[in-house]
């Protein structure tokens, strides 16, 4: 039996023994706050609405209450009285929020609206300027994007951002859309890829709905197209894009494009488009340097709620060269922590890095002998001594780097690496890889050496 109904039954018994006036004055404002089993007996806490109710009932009707509740529960009860408002009394009260407090609620609504608007514009909410780390490699692009977001349509139109994979082109472009919508949520903004632009046209032509396609793109205040190089070589799409571009810019709208190479290098791009792209501002984003990777690691770790020491951050940033891979490593790290309940330590990060590299190893398919060649020429050490037995540091360190590169860059199994590097044991290789991983975190020269050798391969 629950508290509410047992108290109701108790009051029914009490009602018989006292006058209606007494009942309605004292007893109607009580409730059963708590009932707790204490072995053979029950401890019952009766909530009274005020001090007067409590003292009156306690001093005059204690026996009556105790007898009645014991009968209802069927166990001897100890009764205590507390002053407590019946929690059920307040249930209705929060129904209408008054305007003064509503205004705050409105703000939340606005936030929600912003999410909705971003969703409609197909911009990810976490693409914003706040979580975009800036360093020498992307400073120019960042400044240009900020300028564009401050004065849409007039600063640089179009803004053309190009760079390799995972350098933050889409992030920067999304950030412009995000901040524009934050300032004015009624702006018409759309982020799409060159590929989905293409698909929309094809759809339009097939269903004879080119008009709705035009309505969708030509009335925009801010058009963001990712990977514009996809439209190269597609004549009808280029034609349509040309008109869309002209209409949007003529109406004072802003166009931002990203690509993996600069306009002059996009093959089979119509000359009139190329010249238009070149009329705006073309900025490039270089792959992130070590410091920027540290910053990115920090930002992303914070987003995922992982607490990393500076040492760990440097270890990750020193060994991984693209922002996406950093994200991947952090996700792996998070799963390790959550699933296996491990503490974050250097070893854990090393093992995660190792695994990450193994799966990414396919990227480079090169003959191991070329790597050996590159290392030996970089350090100007003969192949024989490089693969030989000397343990002198000037030879041993390049040898370790060679093993590290073979293992991580080419993804060759440990045993095989050992065989390639003068028939060494797989544990020697493991040691070498671990050693270099560690050094890459702390030693600038090693980091530079590695990236230069990588360029040479």
């Amino acid at each position: 039996m629950d508290n509410k109904s047992s108290w109701k039954d108790t009051l029914e018994i009490v009602k018989v023994s006292v006058s209606p006036a007494i009942f309605s004055t004292w007893f109607s404002q009580t409730h059963l706050a708590k009932a707790q089993e204490m072995g053979e007996r029950m401890l019952v806490e009766v909530g009274c609405s005020s001090l007067f109710v409590k003292s009156t009932i306690e001093s005059r009707y204690f026996g009556l209450i105790q007898d009645s509740i014991s009968k209802v529960i069927g166990k001897p009860c100890d009764v205590v009285f507390v002053i407590k408002e019946n929690p059920e009394k307040g249930v209705v009260k929060e129904l209408n929020i008054s305007p003064l407090f509503q205004s705050e609620g409105k703000k939340d609504e606005k936030n929600e609206n912003l999410l909705e608007v971003l969703n409609r514009a197909k911009i990810r909410p976490n693409f914003n300027f706040e979580n975009f780390a800036v360093s020498g490699s992307n400073q120019m692009a960042h400044a240009a994007a900020l300028a564009v977001s401050d004065s849409l349509g007039s600063a640089y139109n179009p803004l053309f951002i190009w760079g390799g994979v995972g350098v933050g082109k889409t992030h920067l472009m999304g950030a412009v859309g995000n901040s524009a919508l934050k300032k004015n949520s009624s702006l018409k903004v759309l982020l799409c890829t060159g590929e989905s632009f293409t698909n929309d046209i094809i759809e339009g032509i097939r269903n004879k709905t080119t008009q709705s396609f035009r309505d969708k793109y030509r009335k925009l205040d801010l058009l963001l197209i990712d990977d514009i190089q996809f439209i190269a070589g597609k004549d009808a799409v280029q034609e349509e894009f040309f008109h869309t571009f002209n209409t949007v810019t003529a109406a004072g709208g802003q166009v931002i494009l990203t690509s993996d190479r600069q306009p002059s290098e996009i093959a089979r791009l119509e000359e009139r488009l190329r010249s238009r792209f070149e009329a705006g501002l073309i900025v490039d984003i270089a792959p992130p340097d070590f410091e920027l990777r540290c910053a990115i690691t920090q930002i992303k770790a914070k987003e995922k709620g992982i607490v990393l020491e500076m040492e760990h951050i440097q270890m990750i940033a020193g060994n991984i060269d693209s922002a996406r891979k950093i994200e991947g490593v952090l996700i792996k790290l998070m799963t390790e922590i959550k699933l296996k309940h491990l503490e974050i330590s250097n070893e854990l990060i090393e093992s995660v890095l190792g695994k990450g590299i193994e799966t990414n190893g396919k990227i480079v398919k090169k003959d191991p002998s070329e790597v050996v060649e590159a290392v030996s020429s970089y350090y100007q050490i003969g192949k024989r001594s490089l693969l030989g037995d000397s343990r002198a540091r000037p030879v041993a360190r390049p040898r370790q780097i060679l093993m590290y590169l073979l293992r991580t860059h080419l993804g060759i199994p440990l045993e095989e690496v050992g065989r390639l590097v003068g028939g060494r044991d797989h544990t020697t290789v493991m040691h070498a890889v671990g050693k270099i991983t560690e050094l890459a975190t702390t030693d600038v020269h090693i980091r530079e050496d590695i990236s230069k050798i990588k360029l040479g391969i």
Partner: protein, 371 residues
């Protein structure tokens, strides 16, 4: 019980006590006030189970004892007696009241049924009376009268080290006032309670010449007790979650307007003549160095009053509408000669302050008007 007491003292105490009696109680004893004679004092108490009062007056006691008497009868009787000594004598459950040339027997009830009323302060804060009463008058008017949200009918009292904050809101406006207190008595760092406004306005009614009010929170009993000399007032604390008022106080503003209080009050009053028929709405229109107070009613006409003001900020065609009652009540609560209003947008709460009093803050929610 048998005693002699001055009519003025008795009339004052009985009148005050009768305000605390519950009128519509089903239990007759709660419609009574309790008279109790001990040694040299006559104690008069009453309660409506939420708030209660205990007053002690000096009397010449011949015989100790107690009796409870219907409040209406005794207060009407005593107030109409001439100013002289009154003899009170109880005989079983009757009270005999007599002065020269007047006798009366009032049917009372056994005092043992009367609820026990707290009247002892064990470890009170001491608050300056004048400041507290003045501050309360700047806050109490903003409480809600809507019983469906009982928590807003009270005043939130926050004691934070050396500061005591009083906050009241009815959901359309909010008043906040800070008083500095002596912190030595304060052991706890932060206390927050909501006190019903009835007891607080009673504090202001006290005419006794005392300079300090004692104040104590009995957390376990959910009671607050105020000691004003010979009078002890107590009330239950309102339970419930007080809305988070801090977050609705705007942190910054776009526009600030300073104007003369009296002039502005006059303008609001003039506007109210027409506003009364138009949902109480008055419109404030800002221009370079003045505020226009406008009101119009479709049935009786319109008016426009210009009030000189010092305005800072971007005012391009800024218009904002308020319920004139809120403006009027705020202006009445201001002590200084100049008021400051700060606005952000026409649908955000306006911040109203007294230029001379940094401890007082008032918010009013504008009325939204569809254009």
């Amino acid at each position: 019980m048998k005693l002699n007491v001055l009519q003025e003292n008795l009339a004052k105490a009985v009148t005050q006590a009768s305000r605390f009696v519950s009128v519509r109680s089903q239990l007759p004893i709660l419609g009574n006030i309790l008279l109790k004679a001990t040694k040299t004092k006559l104690t008069i108490s009453s309660t409506n189970l939420e708030i209660s009062v205990v007053t002690q007056i000096g009397a010449k006691i011949e015989e100790e004892g107690e009796i409870s008497i219907p409040s209406k009868v005794i207060s009407d009787l005593v107030n109409n007696l001439s100013k002289e000594t009154v003899l009170l004598e109880s005989e079983k459950e009757q009270l005999k009241i007599s002065t020269s040339g007047f006798t009366s027997k009032v049917l009372g009830m056994n005092a043992s049924d009367f609820p026990k009323i707290p009247n002892i302060l064990t470890n009170p804060f001491v608050l300056p009376k004048k400041e507290l009463v003045e501050s309360l008058s700047q806050v109490i008017f903003a409480t809600s009268t809507d019983e469906t949200r009982p928590i807003l009918t009270g005043v939130l009292v926050i004691i934070d080290k050396n500061d005591l904050f009083l906050v009241a809101t009815d959901g359309f406006r909010l008043s906040k006032k800070k008083i500095r207190i002596d912190s030595q008595k304060n052991q706890k760092s932060l206390q927050k309670i909501v006190i019903p406004k009835g007891i607080l306005s009673e504090l202001g009614r006290s005419t006794d010449e005392i300079s300090e009010i004692q104040f104590e929170i009995q957390e376990k009993e959910k009671q607050v007790i105020f000691g004003l000399g010979d009078v002890v007032l107590s009330s239950k604390i309102l339970e419930g979650e007080y809305p988070d008022f801090e977050k609705i106080i705007p942190k910054s503003s776009q526009i600030s307007v300073r104007l003369d209080k009296e002039e502005f009050l006059r303008a609001v009053k003039l506007a109210s003549i027409f506003a009364r028929e138009a949902a109480n709405i008055v419109k404030l229109k800002l221009s370079k160095d003045s505020v226009k107070v406008l009101a119009e009613s479709s049935s009786s006409g319109s008016q426009e009053t210009q009030v000189e003001a010092k305005i800072e900020g971007e005012i391009k065609d800024f218009e904002i509408s308020f319920n004139y009652r809120f403006l009027e009540e705020f202006l009445h609560s201001v002590v200084g000669d100049e008021v400051k209003m700060e606005f952000t947008t026409m649908d955000k709460a306006g911040v109203f302050t007294d230029s001379t009093d940094p401890d007082y803050l008032h918010l009013i929610m504008p009325v939204r008007i569809q254009n």
